[in-house]
Symmetry: C2
Subunit: 321 residues, 2 copies
């Protein structure tokens, strides 16, 4: 049996304070996963860095302290996290989880894993588009030091086709800032993605990233826009899930959404705390766009797109008067 | 003097019926350009195919009849259109105009030209993303035969920096369906684009392009989404302008908009007919995004984007269970 129509859940999380023990957080995630499964979900999406506070907001000098936010080695053998894997099997509900990964050979990544309904880790993604800075900015209340604490994701954008008897989906995973980069979505869509899973920790205000018009409403608009437009351009469903609320004195936006291939929001979180949103989705609804407006094989012009890979930054176009 | 802050106009057009003589249409455009200049505009954007009815809706067997919709040879020497060039100089207001171009050596393109405030043609763009079909679909009221009547644009995405004493802008032009393709916007943004100019003829209903949810509201949502999201992703201003209303019995959407680099709509047409929308824009507002969230030189990962140019169509990702 091929399961193309099923219920999916986004599990928005309220803050995870620095002082909260990981065992307590994992217990909270298990409880939420159980609730999602009781709502009929076959797959539930947790946000980015769902085991810890968003620590890149701090300049931490001690590498030992930095590493305390990371899960070391094979996460499937991590005693603290293992109960969550077991829960996926028990509740027959897979999940996507974000966490800070420290590999056995000492590499640091901002990572997302897909665990199936048998509790098996079946796919891993490492954040490609790290925002922020390598070095702290003097005189600001909160930093954005992802470029300091993480290495750039080295796995590309590997689409994954799940066991059709669980859910018959071609999935792509993106983490937070990745969702603002159409290149990332397209790399997945070129592998047939019909379901994109994204989690974020996005601050409600802060470092003048958006200029004079910056405020929480504009930031939520940008978050929505990124998910909604790219779901449309790539004719896929998308789930974007926040860690939100006031976490260690810094406010994060909420606004978790589930979006269909027409770029229509079919579920939206109403709170700024733990909240499960669900939608019954039929992946066959993604086919129409892939065969018509966004039939890449008929309409794309890759011979004109050379700059996308030949250039990293923008060049200037001078006036030649 | 460098003019970074100026008024820009989008000139939405109501229908241009097949029976309307081109001289009459050009007179209408001149009148509208004059009005735009009286509102202070330095540049006015007309839509795609602004001299004729949207003829790709018909299956036309006679090439002679097809060619009657095209402007042959050098458009600056076209006696019918020349008064519009003269008007740009007279009103000190440049324009962007869409028309069907037939070159001296027999090539057919869906073309956009930028004419400066001296009445000089300074840049040309030819539509890269032709929608529709090569062959007519039996049994439908209106075709979409752009792939039949036009060749694919062969000029790439050439950004243009205008005379700073007129307006100090790095501009990109896109035509209709192009706006739905993030690759096109990005190719321009990688050349420093801070102003994107787009015109469209988009049907309000028709060929089930968007599946069961298809309707006029969804189509306007898609049009908005394409312009708004890409303006944000590329930190540029954008003007998207419709030919709208019931043209030769086929309804076209309106919804012309001017958008800022935060993806906020700063002007929107309210009618489905000839209507001038204007906004005073400050191109320096595009700098913030280009230096922060969308500083490509710091944040893009072109080494991971190979598929964007190595593949045209999507491949399937099979289950490897």
């Amino acid at each position: 049996m091929s399961v193309r129509k099923f219920t999916i859940a986004g599990i928005q999380l309220g803050p995870i304070q620095k002082a909260t023990p990981k065992t307590e957080t994992v217990a909270r995630l298990i409880k939420l996963l159980k609730e999602a499964s009781e709502k009929g979900a076959k797959l539930a999406v947790f946000p980015e860095l769902a085991l810890t506070s968003f620590f890149p907001r701090w300049f931490i000098e001690s590498q030992e302290e930095v590493d305390s936010y990371f899960e070391k080695g094979d996460i499937t053998k991590n005693e603290v996290v293992k109960p969550l894997f077991d829960a996926a099997k028990e509740f027959n509900c897979g999940f996507v989880l974000g966490y800070a990964e420290l590999t056995d050979d000492g590499h640091h990544f901002n990572t997302y894993i897909l665990v199936d309904n048998q509790g098996q880790l079946v796919q891993k993604y490492r954040k490609a588009h790290l925002p922020g800075f390598d070095d702290p900015t003097p005189g600001i209340a909160f930093q954005q030091l992802e470029k300091r604490y993480f290495e750039y994701g080295d796995l590309g954008f590997p689409a994954y086709h799940s066991n059709p008897e669980w859910i018959d989906a071609t999935m792509g995973m993106l983490i937070c800032n990745d969702r603002r980069w159409p290149e990332a979505w397209r790399c997945y869509a070129l592998q047939g993605m019909d379901l994109c899973l994204n989690g974020y920790n996005t601050t409600a205000n802060g470092t003048a990233l958006f200029g004079a018009k910056e405020n929480k409403t504009v930031r939520i608009h940008h978050s929505d826009l990124s998910t909604i437009s790219n779901a449309y351009f790539n004719s896929c469903f998308a789930v974007s899930v926040a860690k939100c609320g006031v976490e260690d004195e810094q406010e994060l936006i909420a606004g978790s959404i589930i979006v269909d291939p027409n770029g229509l929001v079919i579920a939206r979180a109403e709170t700024e705390d733990d909240e499960i949103i669900t939608a019954e989705i039929d992946l066959d609804e993604a086919i129409n766009g892939k065969k018509k407006m966004f039939d890449f094989s008929r309409h794309r012009r890759p011979e004109l797109y050379g700059r996308l890979v030949e250039q990293k930054g923008a060049i200037e176009t001078p006036y030649k008067g």
